[in-house]
Subunit: 214 residues, 2 copies
Protein backbone atom coordinates (compact mmCIF):
# COMPACT_ATOMS: atom_id res chain seq x y z
CA UNK A 1 0.00 0.00 0.00
CA UNK A 2 1.32 3.39 -0.97
CA UNK A 3 1.65 6.08 1.64
CA UNK A 4 -0.57 9.11 1.32
CA UNK A 5 1.63 11.98 0.17
CA UNK A 6 1.60 15.36 1.78
CA UNK A 7 -0.49 14.94 4.89
CA UNK A 8 0.10 17.10 7.92
CA UNK A 9 2.49 14.44 9.17
CA UNK A 10 4.92 14.56 6.27
CA UNK A 11 4.86 18.28 5.67
CA UNK A 12 6.99 20.20 3.20
CA UNK A 13 10.54 21.14 4.23
CA UNK A 14 10.87 24.93 4.66
CA UNK A 15 13.54 25.28 2.00
CA UNK A 16 11.37 23.51 -0.56
CA UNK A 17 8.26 25.45 0.46
CA UNK A 18 10.08 28.72 -0.16
CA UNK A 19 10.77 27.62 -3.72
CA UNK A 20 7.27 26.37 -4.44
CA UNK A 21 6.08 29.99 -4.47
CA UNK A 22 8.61 30.70 -7.19
CA UNK A 23 7.55 27.70 -9.25
CA UNK A 24 3.96 28.85 -8.99
CA UNK A 25 4.76 32.37 -10.15
CA UNK A 26 6.75 31.06 -13.09
CA UNK A 27 4.25 28.39 -14.06
CA UNK A 28 1.47 30.98 -14.03
CA UNK A 29 3.54 33.05 -16.41
CA UNK A 30 4.03 29.98 -18.63
CA UNK A 31 0.29 29.44 -18.62
CA UNK A 32 -0.30 33.00 -19.80
CA UNK A 33 2.17 32.32 -22.59
CA UNK A 34 0.17 29.25 -23.54
CA UNK A 35 2.88 26.67 -22.79
CA UNK A 36 1.52 23.16 -22.30
CA UNK A 37 4.55 21.33 -20.94
CA UNK A 38 7.59 22.25 -18.91
CA UNK A 39 10.57 20.11 -17.88
CA UNK A 40 12.49 20.21 -14.62
CA UNK A 41 15.52 21.40 -16.59
CA UNK A 42 13.62 24.32 -18.13
CA UNK A 43 12.14 25.34 -14.79
CA UNK A 44 15.55 25.11 -13.19
CA UNK A 45 17.15 27.32 -15.83
CA UNK A 46 14.42 29.94 -15.49
CA UNK A 47 14.76 30.12 -11.72
CA UNK A 48 18.49 29.64 -11.24
CA UNK A 49 18.26 26.16 -9.70
CA UNK A 50 19.35 22.64 -10.63
CA UNK A 51 16.90 20.24 -12.27
CA UNK A 52 17.58 17.86 -9.41
CA UNK A 53 16.32 20.37 -6.87
CA UNK A 54 13.22 21.02 -8.93
CA UNK A 55 12.35 17.34 -9.16
CA UNK A 56 12.99 16.82 -5.46
CA UNK A 57 10.81 19.80 -4.55
CA UNK A 58 7.95 18.63 -6.73
CA UNK A 59 7.83 15.28 -4.99
CA UNK A 60 6.26 17.18 -2.08
CA UNK A 61 3.11 18.05 -3.98
CA UNK A 62 0.45 15.66 -5.15
CA UNK A 63 1.23 15.87 -8.83
CA UNK A 64 3.36 13.78 -11.13
CA UNK A 65 5.28 14.49 -14.27
CA UNK A 66 5.47 12.18 -17.22
CA UNK A 67 8.70 10.61 -18.45
CA UNK A 68 9.87 12.13 -21.70
CA UNK A 69 7.35 15.00 -21.60
CA UNK A 70 7.91 16.76 -18.31
CA UNK A 71 5.14 18.40 -16.27
CA UNK A 72 1.81 19.49 -17.67
CA UNK A 73 1.72 23.23 -16.96
CA UNK A 74 -1.96 23.37 -16.15
CA UNK A 75 -1.87 20.50 -13.68
CA UNK A 76 1.29 21.78 -12.06
CA UNK A 77 -0.24 25.20 -11.63
CA UNK A 78 -3.30 23.69 -10.03
CA UNK A 79 -1.32 21.51 -7.64
CA UNK A 80 0.99 24.34 -6.58
CA UNK A 81 -1.95 26.71 -6.14
CA UNK A 82 -3.66 24.23 -3.92
CA UNK A 83 -0.69 23.62 -1.66
CA UNK A 84 0.02 27.37 -1.38
CA UNK A 85 -3.58 28.32 -0.75
CA UNK A 86 -3.72 30.27 -4.00
CA UNK A 87 -6.81 28.38 -5.09
CA UNK A 88 -9.03 30.28 -2.74
CA UNK A 89 -9.20 33.73 -1.24
CA UNK A 90 -7.92 34.83 2.14
CA UNK A 91 -9.11 37.62 4.36
CA UNK A 92 -6.25 39.68 5.75
CA UNK A 93 -6.04 42.63 8.12
CA UNK A 94 -3.30 45.27 8.14
CA UNK A 95 -2.23 46.99 11.33
CA UNK A 96 -0.47 50.29 10.79
CA UNK A 97 -1.89 52.86 8.38
CA UNK A 98 1.39 54.56 7.58
CA UNK A 99 2.79 54.68 4.06
CA UNK A 100 3.64 50.99 3.97
CA UNK A 101 0.41 49.75 5.52
CA UNK A 102 -1.69 51.88 3.19
CA UNK A 103 0.34 50.75 0.18
CA UNK A 104 -0.26 47.10 1.02
CA UNK A 105 -3.95 47.70 1.58
CA UNK A 106 -4.09 49.11 -1.94
CA UNK A 107 -1.67 46.63 -3.52
CA UNK A 108 -3.32 45.21 -6.64
CA UNK A 109 -0.96 42.29 -6.84
CA UNK A 110 -2.61 40.97 -3.67
CA UNK A 111 -6.11 41.24 -5.08
CA UNK A 112 -5.07 39.24 -8.10
CA UNK A 113 -3.66 36.55 -5.82
CA UNK A 114 -6.74 36.09 -3.73
CA UNK A 115 -5.54 38.23 -0.85
CA UNK A 116 -8.42 40.40 0.27
CA UNK A 117 -7.62 43.13 2.76
CA UNK A 118 -10.73 43.39 4.90
CA UNK A 119 -9.51 45.96 7.39
CA UNK A 120 -6.75 48.42 8.24
CA UNK A 121 -6.11 49.66 11.77
CA UNK A 122 -4.03 52.21 13.60
CA UNK A 123 -3.83 53.53 17.14
CA UNK A 124 -3.24 57.11 16.03
CA UNK A 125 -6.41 59.16 16.50
CA UNK A 126 -5.37 61.46 13.68
CA UNK A 127 -5.35 58.54 11.24
CA UNK A 128 -8.40 56.60 12.42
CA UNK A 129 -11.34 57.43 10.19
CA UNK A 130 -9.26 58.20 7.10
CA UNK A 131 -10.18 56.40 3.91
CA UNK A 132 -7.76 53.94 2.30
CA UNK A 133 -9.25 52.77 -0.97
CA UNK A 134 -12.56 51.22 -0.07
CA UNK A 135 -11.68 50.91 3.62
CA UNK A 136 -11.80 53.21 6.61
CA UNK A 137 -8.93 53.07 9.09
CA UNK A 138 -10.26 51.59 12.32
CA UNK A 139 -9.08 52.01 15.89
CA UNK A 140 -7.33 49.09 17.56
CA UNK A 141 -10.37 48.38 19.72
CA UNK A 142 -12.29 47.42 16.56
CA UNK A 143 -9.68 44.91 15.37
CA UNK A 144 -11.18 41.86 17.02
CA UNK A 145 -14.65 42.55 15.68
CA UNK A 146 -13.41 42.84 12.10
CA UNK A 147 -11.25 39.73 12.34
CA UNK A 148 -14.22 37.72 13.63
CA UNK A 149 -16.69 39.18 11.17
CA UNK A 150 -14.59 38.42 8.08
CA UNK A 151 -12.83 35.35 9.40
CA UNK A 152 -9.48 36.99 8.72
CA UNK A 153 -6.75 34.35 8.90
CA UNK A 154 -3.70 36.57 8.53
CA UNK A 155 -2.46 39.85 9.93
CA UNK A 156 0.17 42.14 8.49
CA UNK A 157 2.32 44.09 10.95
CA UNK A 158 3.14 47.46 9.39
CA UNK A 159 3.83 49.57 12.47
CA UNK A 160 7.11 51.00 13.84
CA UNK A 161 9.38 48.33 15.31
CA UNK A 162 8.76 49.43 18.90
CA UNK A 163 5.07 48.55 18.63
CA UNK A 164 5.47 45.34 16.62
CA UNK A 165 5.25 42.76 19.42
CA UNK A 166 2.29 44.46 21.03
CA UNK A 167 0.46 44.51 17.70
CA UNK A 168 1.32 40.85 17.14
CA UNK A 169 -0.21 39.99 20.51
CA UNK A 170 -3.35 41.95 19.65
CA UNK A 171 -3.65 40.20 16.28
CA UNK A 172 -3.28 36.76 17.82
CA UNK A 173 -5.78 37.65 20.54
CA UNK A 174 -8.16 38.84 17.85
CA UNK A 175 -8.00 35.43 16.25
CA UNK A 176 -5.70 35.54 13.23
CA UNK A 177 -3.80 32.32 12.51
CA UNK A 178 -0.59 33.67 11.02
CA UNK A 179 1.41 36.91 10.80
CA UNK A 180 3.43 38.71 8.16
CA UNK A 181 5.98 40.92 9.86
CA UNK A 182 7.28 43.94 7.94
CA UNK A 183 9.50 45.20 10.76
CA UNK A 184 13.04 44.20 11.64
CA UNK A 185 11.90 43.10 15.12
CA UNK A 186 11.64 39.47 16.11
CA UNK A 187 8.03 38.54 16.79
CA UNK A 188 7.19 35.87 19.37
CA UNK A 189 3.89 34.00 19.02
CA UNK A 190 2.19 31.10 20.78
CA UNK A 191 2.99 27.66 19.32
CA UNK A 192 1.04 27.04 16.14
CA UNK A 193 0.91 30.65 14.99
CA UNK A 194 3.48 31.06 12.22
CA UNK A 195 5.27 34.35 11.57
CA UNK A 196 6.93 35.20 8.30
CA UNK A 197 9.38 38.09 8.07
CA UNK A 198 9.26 40.11 4.89
CA UNK A 199 12.87 41.21 5.23
CA UNK A 200 12.71 44.48 3.30
CA UNK A 201 15.04 46.42 5.58
CA UNK A 202 17.03 43.29 6.42
CA UNK A 203 17.37 42.58 2.73
CA UNK A 204 18.94 45.97 2.10
CA UNK A 205 21.43 45.31 4.91
CA UNK A 206 22.34 41.95 3.41
CA UNK A 207 22.81 43.70 0.08
CA UNK A 208 25.10 46.25 1.73
CA UNK A 209 27.26 43.44 2.98
CA UNK A 210 27.34 41.66 -0.35
CA UNK A 211 28.17 44.84 -2.24
CA UNK A 212 30.88 45.93 0.13
CA UNK A 213 32.52 42.50 0.00
CA UNK A 214 32.18 42.08 -3.75
Amino acid sequence: MKQAANTAANSIPPAALGRLTRYLAHVQELMRQGAEWVSSATLARALGLTSSTVRQDLTHITFSGISKRGYRVKGLERALSEVLGADRSWEVVVVGAGNLGRALALHEDFTRRGIHICGIFDNDRAVVGQRVGGLTVGGMQTLRRTVRKHGAAMGIIAVPAAAAQEVADALVAAGVKGLLNLTLTHIATPPGVPVIDSRIAAGLQELSHAIRNA
Copy 2:
Protein backbone atom coordinates in the same frame (compact mmCIF):
# COMPACT_ATOMS: atom_id res chain seq x y z
CA MET B 1 50.20 33.54 13.12
CA LYS B 2 46.46 33.93 13.35
CA GLN B 3 44.41 34.07 10.24
CA ALA B 4 42.71 37.35 9.44
CA ALA B 5 39.01 36.88 10.11
CA ASN B 6 36.33 37.88 7.72
CA THR B 7 38.15 38.79 4.53
CA ALA B 8 36.44 38.44 1.17
CA ALA B 9 37.86 34.93 0.99
CA ASN B 10 36.17 33.56 4.10
CA SER B 11 32.86 35.30 3.72
CA ILE B 12 29.82 34.84 5.93
CA PRO B 13 27.53 31.85 5.25
CA PRO B 14 24.13 33.02 3.95
CA ALA B 15 22.18 31.49 6.82
CA ALA B 16 24.33 33.29 9.38
CA LEU B 17 24.22 36.57 7.45
CA GLY B 18 20.43 36.48 7.53
CA ARG B 19 20.52 36.30 11.31
CA LEU B 20 23.12 39.03 11.77
CA THR B 21 20.50 41.59 10.73
CA ARG B 22 18.29 40.32 13.54
CA TYR B 23 21.08 40.52 16.09
CA LEU B 24 21.76 44.08 15.01
CA ALA B 25 18.13 45.13 15.37
CA HIS B 26 17.92 43.57 18.81
CA VAL B 27 21.26 44.90 20.02
CA GLN B 28 20.26 48.41 18.93
CA GLU B 29 17.15 48.03 21.02
CA LEU B 30 19.27 46.88 23.98
CA MET B 31 21.44 49.94 23.53
CA ARG B 32 18.41 52.22 23.67
CA GLN B 33 17.48 50.46 26.90
CA GLY B 34 20.92 51.18 28.26
CA ALA B 35 22.06 47.56 28.59
CA GLU B 36 25.83 47.16 28.76
CA TRP B 37 26.27 43.42 28.37
CA VAL B 38 24.38 40.62 26.67
CA SER B 39 25.04 36.89 26.65
CA SER B 40 24.56 34.42 23.83
CA ALA B 41 21.85 32.75 25.90
CA THR B 42 19.94 36.01 26.35
CA LEU B 43 20.23 36.90 22.68
CA ALA B 44 19.09 33.41 21.73
CA ARG B 45 16.03 33.58 23.95
CA ALA B 46 15.05 36.98 22.57
CA LEU B 47 15.31 35.82 18.97
CA GLY B 48 14.10 32.24 19.19
CA LEU B 49 17.49 30.61 18.54
CA THR B 50 19.92 28.43 20.46
CA SER B 51 22.89 30.00 22.23
CA SER B 52 25.11 27.72 20.20
CA THR B 53 23.86 29.21 16.96
CA VAL B 54 24.40 32.72 18.30
CA ARG B 55 28.00 32.02 19.28
CA GLN B 56 28.72 30.32 15.97
CA ASP B 57 27.23 33.23 14.04
CA LEU B 58 29.23 35.81 15.97
CA THR B 59 32.50 34.08 15.10
CA HIS B 60 31.97 35.53 11.61
CA ILE B 61 32.37 39.11 12.75
CA THR B 62 35.51 40.75 14.06
CA PHE B 63 34.42 41.07 17.64
CA SER B 64 34.93 38.90 20.68
CA GLY B 65 32.95 38.26 23.79
CA ILE B 66 34.42 37.87 27.22
CA SER B 67 34.14 34.71 29.28
CA LYS B 68 31.81 35.11 32.19
CA ARG B 69 30.45 38.50 31.02
CA GLY B 70 29.13 37.91 27.52
CA TYR B 71 29.27 40.51 24.73
CA ARG B 72 29.62 44.24 25.28
CA VAL B 73 26.49 45.69 23.67
CA LYS B 74 28.18 48.77 22.29
CA GLY B 75 31.03 46.90 20.66
CA LEU B 76 28.71 44.25 19.28
CA GLU B 77 26.48 46.91 17.79
CA ARG B 78 29.45 48.57 16.15
CA ALA B 79 30.82 45.32 14.72
CA LEU B 80 27.45 44.22 13.35
CA SER B 81 26.79 47.67 11.89
CA GLU B 82 30.08 47.58 10.11
CA VAL B 83 29.59 44.17 8.56
CA LEU B 84 26.04 45.03 7.48
CA GLY B 85 26.95 48.43 6.11
CA ALA B 86 24.79 50.16 8.70
CA ASP B 87 27.70 52.35 9.74
CA ARG B 88 27.42 54.50 6.68
CA SER B 89 24.70 55.72 4.37
CA TRP B 90 23.66 54.19 1.07
CA GLU B 91 22.12 55.86 -1.93
CA VAL B 92 19.21 53.87 -3.33
CA VAL B 93 16.89 54.32 -6.30
CA VAL B 94 13.34 53.01 -6.55
CA VAL B 95 11.82 51.98 -9.87
CA GLY B 96 8.05 51.97 -9.90
CA ALA B 97 6.08 54.86 -8.45
CA GLY B 98 2.95 52.89 -7.59
CA ASN B 99 1.67 52.58 -4.04
CA LEU B 100 4.49 50.33 -2.90
CA GLY B 101 7.31 52.28 -4.58
CA ARG B 102 6.05 55.57 -3.19
CA ALA B 103 5.64 54.06 0.28
CA LEU B 104 9.24 52.86 0.29
CA ALA B 105 10.50 56.21 -0.96
CA LEU B 106 8.79 57.80 2.03
CA HIS B 107 9.63 55.04 4.53
CA GLU B 108 11.12 56.66 7.61
CA ASP B 109 12.58 53.44 8.90
CA PHE B 110 14.96 53.56 5.93
CA THR B 111 16.11 57.07 6.67
CA ARG B 112 16.94 56.08 10.21
CA ARG B 113 19.00 53.16 8.92
CA GLY B 114 21.14 55.14 6.55
CA ILE B 115 19.14 54.27 3.45
CA HIS B 116 18.74 57.41 1.39
CA ILE B 117 16.35 57.22 -1.52
CA CYS B 118 17.88 59.53 -4.12
CA GLY B 119 15.46 58.90 -6.96
CA ILE B 120 12.17 57.31 -7.94
CA PHE B 121 11.33 56.38 -11.53
CA ASP B 122 8.44 55.16 -13.60
CA ASN B 123 7.72 54.65 -17.27
CA ASP B 124 4.15 55.90 -17.01
CA ARG B 125 3.86 59.41 -18.45
CA ALA B 126 0.93 60.14 -16.16
CA VAL B 127 3.12 59.53 -13.12
CA VAL B 128 6.40 61.12 -14.22
CA GLY B 129 6.68 64.59 -12.75
CA GLN B 130 4.58 63.84 -9.67
CA ARG B 131 6.08 64.69 -6.29
CA VAL B 132 6.89 61.95 -3.78
CA GLY B 133 8.08 63.57 -0.58
CA GLY B 134 11.12 65.60 -1.56
CA LEU B 135 11.56 63.79 -4.90
CA THR B 136 10.05 64.12 -8.34
CA VAL B 137 9.24 60.93 -10.25
CA GLY B 138 11.65 60.68 -13.17
CA GLY B 139 11.27 58.93 -16.50
CA MET B 140 13.27 55.79 -17.11
CA GLN B 141 15.61 57.61 -19.47
CA THR B 142 16.84 59.68 -16.53
CA LEU B 143 17.67 56.66 -14.35
CA ARG B 144 21.29 56.31 -15.41
CA ARG B 145 22.06 59.95 -14.82
CA THR B 146 20.69 59.87 -11.27
CA VAL B 147 22.46 56.62 -10.38
CA ARG B 148 25.77 58.07 -11.59
CA LYS B 149 25.27 61.44 -9.98
CA HIS B 150 24.49 60.06 -6.51
CA GLY B 151 26.59 56.93 -6.76
CA ALA B 152 23.51 54.83 -6.00
CA ALA B 153 24.59 51.31 -5.10
CA MET B 154 21.19 49.65 -4.83
CA GLY B 155 17.98 49.59 -6.79
CA ILE B 156 14.54 48.57 -5.60
CA ILE B 157 12.22 46.89 -8.09
CA ALA B 158 8.66 47.96 -7.29
CA VAL B 159 6.96 47.47 -10.66
CA PRO B 160 4.44 44.85 -11.82
CA ALA B 161 5.96 41.38 -12.21
CA ALA B 162 5.81 41.51 -16.01
CA ALA B 163 8.25 44.45 -16.11
CA ALA B 164 10.57 43.27 -13.34
CA GLN B 165 13.35 41.69 -15.39
CA GLU B 166 13.45 44.59 -17.83
CA VAL B 167 13.73 47.03 -14.94
CA ALA B 168 16.47 44.91 -13.35
CA ASP B 169 18.44 45.06 -16.60
CA ALA B 170 18.02 48.83 -16.74
CA LEU B 171 19.18 49.21 -13.13
CA VAL B 172 22.26 47.08 -13.71
CA ALA B 173 23.03 48.97 -16.91
CA ALA B 174 22.68 52.21 -14.99
CA GLY B 175 25.34 51.03 -12.58
CA VAL B 176 23.73 49.81 -9.38
CA LYS B 177 25.58 47.00 -7.61
CA GLY B 178 22.68 45.11 -6.03
CA LEU B 179 18.92 44.75 -6.31
CA LEU B 180 16.00 44.37 -3.92
CA ASN B 181 13.14 42.65 -5.70
CA LEU B 182 9.63 43.24 -4.41
CA THR B 183 7.94 41.12 -7.07
CA LEU B 184 7.34 37.39 -7.13
CA THR B 185 9.35 37.07 -10.36
CA HIS B 186 12.80 35.54 -10.46
CA ILE B 187 15.37 38.16 -11.43
CA ALA B 188 18.48 37.16 -13.37
CA THR B 189 21.57 39.34 -13.08
CA PRO B 190 25.17 39.21 -14.29
CA PRO B 191 27.60 37.44 -11.92
CA GLY B 192 28.55 39.68 -9.02
CA VAL B 193 25.25 41.56 -8.85
CA PRO B 194 23.30 40.17 -5.89
CA VAL B 195 19.51 40.13 -5.81
CA ILE B 196 17.49 39.83 -2.65
CA ASP B 197 13.81 38.94 -2.75
CA SER B 198 11.60 40.69 -0.23
CA ARG B 199 9.05 37.88 -0.32
CA ILE B 200 5.98 39.85 0.71
CA ALA B 201 3.55 38.06 -1.58
CA ALA B 202 5.51 34.80 -1.31
CA GLY B 203 5.41 35.13 2.47
CA LEU B 204 1.63 35.30 2.46
CA GLN B 205 1.49 32.16 0.32
CA GLU B 206 3.79 30.34 2.72
CA LEU B 207 1.53 31.47 5.55
CA SER B 208 -1.51 30.13 3.69
CA HIS B 209 0.16 26.76 3.52
CA ALA B 210 1.17 26.76 7.15
CA ILE B 211 -2.28 27.82 8.31
CA ARG B 212 -4.11 25.31 6.17
CA ASN B 213 -1.87 22.49 7.40
CA ALA B 214 -1.94 23.54 11.05
